[in-house]
Symmetry: C2
């Protein structure tokens, strides 16, 4: 998961990076701790001098990393003062030594930030099963605290947490809260081992909105279900999936109301902006899918329920045969039928209709009488492919995002020792 | 699924083919109907002049092929007189025309075999979504009936049903039934779209044992659960998975007892031989996995139940990251941990132990203190890899078989139009 070799930037990378503004109460720094990589930053340190409400969504893997265990323990406290993220080593499946390493890291960070360790949040990404030497953080985090800056470039923060990523992932949105405009900034990493189960590899969202933890948690959960839980690169769920949101409340100084309930009606614009930002970050992860050459949107409608539609969409998005066909620019809707059939959800073959883009290729359980191979083949040459399935049973619908499966994926994950 | 190009034989192919003896009451023939392929046989016709008890296990796909629908309808009858299998076209997702095509094929075969259509069993494999022109069978099956022969080479029968297969799959076993030796012959096909859900692509088993359909069905179901339902090439479940067994009862003439209950104790040796034969065929399908270079056995023990062990084993066997690591001869047990974690089954990270071959690489939730990379890397160079996981929770165990994921798989499924 953490090759030393570098890859050229994904052809699906955004043409420009969003510019993220500074946020009240958020200071950032990065450092080179030399955990695994040479000549690049591998530590991100974020401090909230005035504290921040925090909420999180973590992997449901039964073999979570030590930092995931740590965050799960600290999240009920609801308050954060520092965040430390390292790349190069996931500190996953490292036994007692892993638990000791997160404790020591939190203590070092707490000393630097001037808070108790239970206000420190941690995430690690990189190789699994290698012990992480937390003493490496000792000088590094004190140094980070000394240099941490509200004007620090967010793009550099995103770069410090990359592993097989070929580009840093950043997004920003604004929303009205009461009469005040609040800002939401987010960064993420991830390119392989992407089939988030309640969260993604690593994503961190920061806002100056004064939203308390009890309101923040359901907001984030709902947003994750519509973004990170709708993407897949390879169907493999990471041990380290972590999505955290930090709300400093700075906008309260400008008159934004303090929100402590998720059903507060004033949250509607914020919720919309947060959902958009999460989808933006999640799609960037797919756009950096290992070996990806095409960005694929899978839309399923006509399912008995939304949940059923979601499962069918993910069955299609995870199918190696569908994904290799798209890599080969082959409108192979037979494989889409296969993936619908294996999803185990209610489906009636003879009511199925399938579209590639706006071209209907199948209807009433058979090839569309108007099917034209040349038109469909031309569509498949696009970089962004939309694949739509209507099950013809009910009103449930869902969308999933994935990428094609190319020889590049096998090369990245098989052709070198990780 | 049905390329016109030919592939060289899988390096994992058996060194020799089993020699299958003639079976009393079974006559075979093949033909070239020109359905899709040129210059090769694409129709297998098997006739049981004295009838045969029949049992079957069919795909649970919600989008099954028309021949699967046909078999599901006829199986309760319990008697077969003919079997027609074609390659090149799966007659799947072909709507009303597909249903009409199986009906016409059965009628043509019934006329040739001199029986009613409900005693004809059908299977098709190849491209999905293309209408199958059943009139092609008209002269062909009459011709087959005229030439059908008990001495016909079973290997040629297996060749006629190949699609992306690089070698024909045959197996034979004998067993005592009462005081008589009975024979079981089996043929199968399959290389991609292999994640059988209650059966595999196509497999047909023939025996002269006098076992009636009510006893045959549970025997076959149990055998399929321990063989075809334990293999995966790509996690994609076919629309056409069909496993049928035909028992002519010929051994009854030599004095074998007629069995009509699955719990008849005299069945024990037959059950064992049948299970072995099904595992043999299932493993051959994995050995012909598209692009496969390594044969992988995944053994899981210490699970809370056998079913749980099976799910964990299949989660590992289906993981693209585990399979690409094996292709790269990388003993990446971190990815095994990931695959255990995502299975959704009871697991305790800190009790997990993992072996590659006889080398324990991880124990008590962390890398084995005695781990030696050189030894492990040397083991990974083998063509057959055994990967063992003990969950340390209970007594449930299971085995799954798979192959590595190579660029060859992507090439076969993506680099040409199918």
């Amino acid at each position: 998961m953490a090759p030393l070799m570098s890859h050229s930037v994904s052809p699906l990378a955004p043409k420009t990076y969003a510019e993220l503004p500074p946020l009240w109460g958020v200071r950032l720094a990065t450092a080179q701790a030399g955990i695994r990589y040479k000549d690049r930053t591998d530590v991100l340190y974020v401090t909230f001098p005035h504290g921040a409400a925090v909420a999180g969504v973590l992997t449901r893997s039964k073999c979570p990393s030590a930092p995931v265990d740590w965050c799960r323990t600290q999240l009920p406290g609801g308050t954060a003062q520092a965040l430390v993220v390292n790349s190069g080593n996931a500190n996953a499946f490292t036994g007692m030594r892993g638990a000791a390493a997160v404790k020591l890291t939190a203590e070092i960070a707490a000393q630097a930030a001037g808070c108790s360790p239970d206000r420190v949040f941690l995430a690690s990404t990189g190789v699994i099963g290698e012990p992480l030497d937390a003493t490496r953080f000792e000088g590094v985090l004190t140094e980070c605290e000394a240099h941490a800056d509200g004007e620090f470039p967010w793009l550099d923060a995103a770069k410090a947490i990359m592993t097989t990523d070929t580009f840093p992932k950043v997004a920003t949105r604004t929303a009205r809260l009461g009469d005040v405009e609040v800002t939401i900034n987010g960064i993420a990493k991830g390119a392989g081992m992407i089939a988030p189960d309640m969260a993604t590899m690593l994503a961190f969202v920061f806002t100056d909105a004064p939203i308390m933890a009890p309101a923040l948690q359901p907001l984030l959960k709902r947003g994750a279900d519509r973004s990170f839980n709708c993407i897949t690169v390879d169907g493999d769920t990471s041990t380290s999936d972590t999505l955290l949101i930090f709300a400093t409340g700075g906008a309260g100084l400008a008159g934004a109301p303090t929100i402590d309930k998720a059903d507060d009606r004033r949250l509607a614009p914020f919720r919309k902006a947060l959902d958009e930002l999460l989808v933006d970050l999640a799609q960037q992860v797919v756009r950096d899918g290992e070996g990806a050459r095409k960005f694929v949107t899978v839309q399923v409608s006509g399912a008995t329920t939304a949940r059923s539609a979601q499962r069918v969409a993910m069955s299609i998005a995870n199918s190696p045969l569908v994904k290799t066909a798209i890599a080969g620019e082959d409108a192979n809707w037979g494989r889409v039928v296969m993936a619908v059939g294996k999803a185990g959800e209610p489906a009636d073959r003879d009511r199925l209709a399938i579209w590639f883009g706006d071209i209907r290729v199948a209807v009433d359980g058979a090839r569309d009488p108007a099917y034209d191979e040349a038109t469909t083949s031309a569509y498949m040459k696009n970089e962004a492919i939309t694949l739509r399935v209507d099950l013809g049973l009910g009103k449930g619908k869902a969308t999933a995002w994935t990428c094609d499966l190319t020889k590049g994926y096998v090369e990245i994950n098989g052709d070198y020792r990780s």
